[in-house]
Amino acid sequence: MATVRGNHGARTVASTFVGYFILIFFALVFIYPFVIQLSASFKTEPNAALNPLNPVPDPFVTDAYHKVFLSTDMPLWLGNSLVVTVAITLGRVLLDSMAGYALARLRFRGRKALFSAVIAILAVPGVVLFIPKFLVLKQFGMYDTYTALILPIIADAGGVFIMKQFFESIPRSVEEAARIDGAGTWRTFWSVVLPMGRPALITLTIISFQSSWNELPHSLVAVQSPDLYTLPRGLAVLVSGSLGSGNQYPLKLGAAVLATIPVAIIFVVFQRYFVRGANEGADK
């Protein structure tokens, strides 16, 4: 009996060890590239090329960031990205929750067909829309404007779906009480239902912010003037064509760090909402 238990104990220790080994190995694989990115952005160019693996910049210089802000259009890209992202996020949160609420709660003719249409639109792969979106923007005379960057993606089927699922999960009784008190549909929605929807609204805010902050292809088909470049577009222009030739890496990586920081902060603060967002996406 004793030997059996001893064996068992040894096996548990061994598998715990193997488990941690796997976890730590992969944590390094997933995180170390960011460490390399951050440290290289504080290195001198020769040092970054010579010691790409070393996490400690020696000497530590901030030249790359000076250059990013002074000799590229980074301030413009940051500003554009901020305007576009905030507008899209606010729009999506409002419009998607209105539509989600109507589809979940209001009885109107055509509701079922509309919901099926939303599901169908969810299934349309984004890349198929590159050229079509460009065509429509040209036709409407919107091409190469801020409107083109914002309006076409200010509502999305995925967000409508998430909000509908959420509103279906909250009890009807509260709304009904408000209705009996004489509140109209809009009042009920705005001051009773939306405040209860906080968790879903935060999730939607975060995934909208993240996806529009990172968005590249829509910018490619919506605008062409450098004045309207968002950060991913500017960054892509900054690096494209270089094909791994070792020049200016601290500068490019510094610009990439700036593109990563806002989402990284939100990720750290609101991690559980990100997790929820990933799993809501799975329910589609």
Binding site: K133, V239, A256
Partner: protein, 341 residues
């Protein structure tokens, strides 16, 4: 006149959904219809594609992709070949990696779950453009990866300049064929204007860096989905199987995996749909080079339209891509139905 409560709810409902309908209608549905028309024309981007005088060419643009001999078909088929290898490798690897990580993170005796979950998931939320820049640096010829390989005495390749196919390299390495002088029967014939030798190239060394990047960024999201499914498995079920004396592997094979089947199918479908659309990484890292081995249909459709002003072939490619994705989705749905029945 007072409206009945029912009529008022009807109106309110439509008002609430109106903005979303207008946006999705104008920028999703209408564009698709317009693009269907453009794919049947030879429009060059000048003026409106609906004016008289835009040459209507019927299915010529589609014929150029499949039947007409020429550069367009060769590029398109090359891009399809590249993407087939890309899907065939990325989807299984990221699924297995995601499942494996989820099983380890979920293991009861390990601590620090929250940290590891966050570490694995973080790459998925960051900008694909920014990550591509990082990978360009890491895989540069004297970059981090080659430094690491040199530590083990291996000389790394010039990742982004290397157009050699991995399958060619493997066949050559096994001594089955002479890569510099492939057998004539492989070079002579082959479907859709590409020789069998070309079809059998495998992904190029350059493409494999993009595959590694995508596996690295998306595994975390799928891991979360597996984790959520694992947490839904009743503990009693696992305990019962433990009491029955099932070992760890048996438990995984006969208890855990069957419970994960719906998630597994979902992860595979989502993986296939997104891998057929690879674009951002190609745009930033390689623009189809070297030797067109990182060209994908999504990227080709973009360059046909916006660099070569051949909007007709560009949209035709995107509809073929649409059809490929729909086909995979239908096959998956059908398989799932069989299993649920």
């Amino acid at each position: 006149m007072r409206l009945s409560a029912k009529a008022r709810e009807n109106i309110a409902g439509w008002l609430f959904v109106a903005p979303v309908i207008v946006i999705l209608g104008l920028f999703m549905l209408l564009p698709i219809l317009m693009a269907m028309w453009v794919s049947l024309t030879d429009w060059n981007g000048q003026g409106s594609p609906f004016k008289a005088g835009v040459p209507f060419v019927g299915v010529d643009n589609y014929a150029k992709l499949f039947t007409d001999e020429g550069l367009t078909r060769q590029d398109f088929m090359t891009s399809v070949r590249n993407n087939i290898y890309y899907v065939g490798i990325v989807v299984p690897v990221q699924t297995v990696l995601a499942l494996g990580l989820a099983l380890v993170v979920n293991a009861r005796m390990l601590k620090g779950k929250g940290f590891f979950r966050a570490a694995f998931f973080f790459p998925s939320v960051t900008s694909s453009v920014a990550i591509s820049v990082v990978f360009l640096f890491i895989f540069a010829s004297s970059g981090a990866v080659n430094n690491l390989l040199a530590f083990f005495g291996i000389q790394g390749p010039q990742w982004f300049a290397d157009a050699r196919g991995l399958l060619h390299l493997a066949l050559g390495g096994l001594g089955l064929v002479d890569v510099d002088n492939p057998p004539a029967w492989l070079l002579d014939g082959g479907p859709f204007g590409l020789s069998w030798w070309d079809w059998l190239a495998g992904p190029s060394v350059a493409m494999s860096t993009i595959m590694l990047l995508v596996i690295w960024t998306t595994s975390g999201t799928f891991m979360l989905m597996f984790l959520a499914a694992l947490q839904d498995i009743p503990v009693t079920l696992e305990e019962a199987s433990m009491l029955d004396g099932a070992g760890r592997w048996k438990r995984l094979r006969y208890v855990t995996l069957p419970m994960l089947k719906p998630t597994l199918f979902l992860v595979l479908t989502m993986g296939i749909i997104s891998t057929w659309q690879v674009f951002d990484q190609v745009y930033v890292m390689s623009q189809g080079a070297p030797g067109k081995t990182t060209l994908t249909p999504a990227y080709l459709s973009y360059t046909q339209a916006f660099d070569n002003f051949e909007y007709g072939t560009g949209t035709a490619i995107s509809f073929v891509l649409f059809a490929i994705i729909v086909l995979f989705t239908i096959v998956q749905r059908w398989l799932l139905r069989e299993r649920n029945a």
